[in-house]
Amino acid sequence: MIRHKQTLGATLVALLMLVAVSVMAQDKIVVDFYYPTAVDGPIDEIIAKYEADFEAMHPEIDVVPAYTGSYTQTRDTIRTEIAAEDVIVDVAVMLATDLTSFVEDESIVPAQQFIDAMDTADAFTAGFFPAFLANSADEDGMIWSVPFQRSTPILYYNADLFAEAGIAVPTNNEELIAAAQALQTEDRAGLLLPVAGTFPTWLYQSFAAAYGQPIVEASPAEVFFNTPESLAAVEFITKLGMAEADGGFAVGPMGGSAWGDTPTAFTSGQAAMIYHTTGSLTSILNNATFEVGVAFLPSGPAGETGTGYGAPTGGGNLYIFAAAAPEVQEAAWLWVEYLASDTVQSDWGANTGYIAATVGAWDVEPLKTLVTEKPQYLVARDQLEFAVKEFDSYRSIDVQGIINTALSSIISGNVPLSEAQATLDAAQVQIDSLLAEYK
């Protein structure tokens, strides 16, 4: 036994020394950075380039980037770490709409505390497009996350077809239908709206806003789903695919098109117009054999005060995690600040197709030159003035599930339009019961 104890003691001493040595070797502050991807291309190389650039400026910091799959997979990985009470991640890109749930379980720290410590705090905040900050702030205006890879839906149109037919680009919903009906043929849809499948909520939000009542406002405890504006939006979307005999516009397939197939259908001439994210602008411009036009999403009636324009934003923000040590959080903030700088946003936007989130990025190379060659990017940027907060609420995953199910059942035609209001009401009751405890 004694011999065993000695061996054990010796092993312990050796282990302790090993730990001490490795601690001494790690004089750098290590920042674990998780990022998802949602675009194609060598994203790793771009991130590695930023890492090298950043570490040259801050030799005391070692950023360790890790690709973590989709947004959902990234969230699941981080949730696993939180559940195991062993959080590795220090800073991550997650959906802008993940904010409420992570604030609620106190696993992130507000970016505001770091911004306030900056000499240029006001300039930093003012540097972003306000629409991209809409999902960063809580009800009290405190900023928790920093915009990084952002997008918004826009209208793509086949400019050659419009020129041939002598039709003006639609600016409101009536003109949209007229143009779509004029340009559709046997094997070309007038308008493809990618709302088929399991996630119609994103594009639905732009119609809800255009009809005057966005699905969410400042409070994450309130969702507006059974309003007259919401009903009008759902009816409009559904009628796009309905036969004219049934009161529809018949400009595309019933139930909408599939998200993934829509850009290809457009670039190959099978649709005169599509709604899609700015994220696909680069590949659409590269693949189309015709002149690609880009315009604001056409406006709706919007009530008395609104412009009738409206689009949600999308994409991911940077979050710093509460479990990180204070000095690591400070280092993580420097990395966030770097990624949100005009130079990086300009480069990131030009290389990936995301909309650069800062106003200044558009006056910096390489984006500055890119927009002179491809002015379509500017349309996407300018629409941000009318963009609204993207859906996020308490219990957001559950609420979004309810909304998706209700929308799909109506848009696909499984539920007739005459019962649409009842379907929205039923969904609203479910949502309100989920949100009751937060009011």
Binding site: Y34, S70, Q73, I88, G260, T264, S268, G279, S280
Partner: protein, 278 residues
């Protein structure tokens, strides 16, 4: 064969049905191969219905550039072989113990172990993650393999196989002076080869295709397997679906298993028939 000769009609019908079924099962593979050679961004109904307007390797080049595939291949091989090697050892030992040895609580223990089969692996992810962190093995090949080193299914399979070997063979070997290890080496294990092959196929193919656990327990590309690389091609929600690239990547991932299967087809099928596994 006799029944076939009796009625040519029935035999033709069987053949026709087999061909139809085989085609249905082949469809996804054929679709993947055709899609991967079409020009990117060309819809299915453009050009020739099968090969598009031209045959191109562009998708393969694009897909290859997206991830460090060579490293991923190596990691996948280390993962499945490292897992299998230890599994073969543990299931042989445990299977033999349950099949031949008598000890207190044996049947209870077997039932407890089989209960594991009912626990979905996803439930254990958080616990396993915490364990790997505590063992300081997070983000290593060890962490990938370790949770699979014991296999309840494998133990059950080997127990049943060993029980099917006549005890007399072992006794005869013992009379000839063989010790336990020699009996295992020269009698028990050689007679169970088909069961080992079946187990190896199931183990290799399930771990080759594993995504969740590798994604949770690794961060560095240097230790990640193929599935994580393929995932990059699948996650392009901002740009729409890139089917060509995705199919090319899918073929990267399934190619080794497919080649193995074609090479050892007869062996595989025999072993499945021998063990009664379907």
């Amino acid at each position: 064969m006799l029944t076939y000769r009796k009625s040519t009609f029935a035999s033709h019908l069987t053949t026709a049905l087999t061909i139809v079924l085989a085609l249905i099962w082949l469809m996804p593979l054929i679709f993947s191969i055709l899609m991967s050679f079409r020009p990117p961004a060309e819809p299915v109904n453009q050009g020739n219905i099968f090969i598009g307007s031209e045959i191109t390797l562009e998708n393969y080049a694009d897909a290859w550039a997206v991830a460090p595939w060579a490293g991923h291949y190596l990691n996948s091989i280390i993962f499945v072989l490292g897992t299998l090697a230890v599994q073969v050892f543990t299931i042989t030992m445990a299977g033999y113990a349950f099949a031949r040895m008598k000890f207190f609580g044996r049947d209870m223990l077997l039932i407890l172990m089989l209960l594991q089969l009912m626990i979905p692996t996803g439930v254990l992810v958080v616990q396993n993650f915490a364990t790997m962190r505590n063992l300081n093995l997070f983000d290593t090949h060890w962490a990938l393999m370790m949770p699979y080193w014991g296999s309840a299914f494998g133990v059950l399979l080997m127990r049943q196989t060993f029980r099917g070997i006549p005890l007399e063979l072992e006794e005869a070997a013992r009379i000839d002076g063989a010790n336990w290890l020699q009996i295992m080496r020269y009698v028990v294990v050689p007679l169970s080869i088909p069961a080992y092959v079946s187990f190896a196929i199931i183990s290799i193919s399930s771990h080759w295709n594993e995504y969740l656990w590798p994604a949770i327990v690794t961060r560095a590309e240097e230790v990640r397997p193929l599935t994580v690389g393929l995932n990059r091609l699948y996650q392009t929600s901002e740009v729409g679906a890139l089917y060509g690239q995705l199919m090319a990547g899918t073929l990267f991932v399934i190619a080794p298993l497919m080649i193995l299967f074609i090479l050892f087809q007869r062996r595989f099928i025999e072993s499945f028939i021998n063990t009664g596994l379907k």
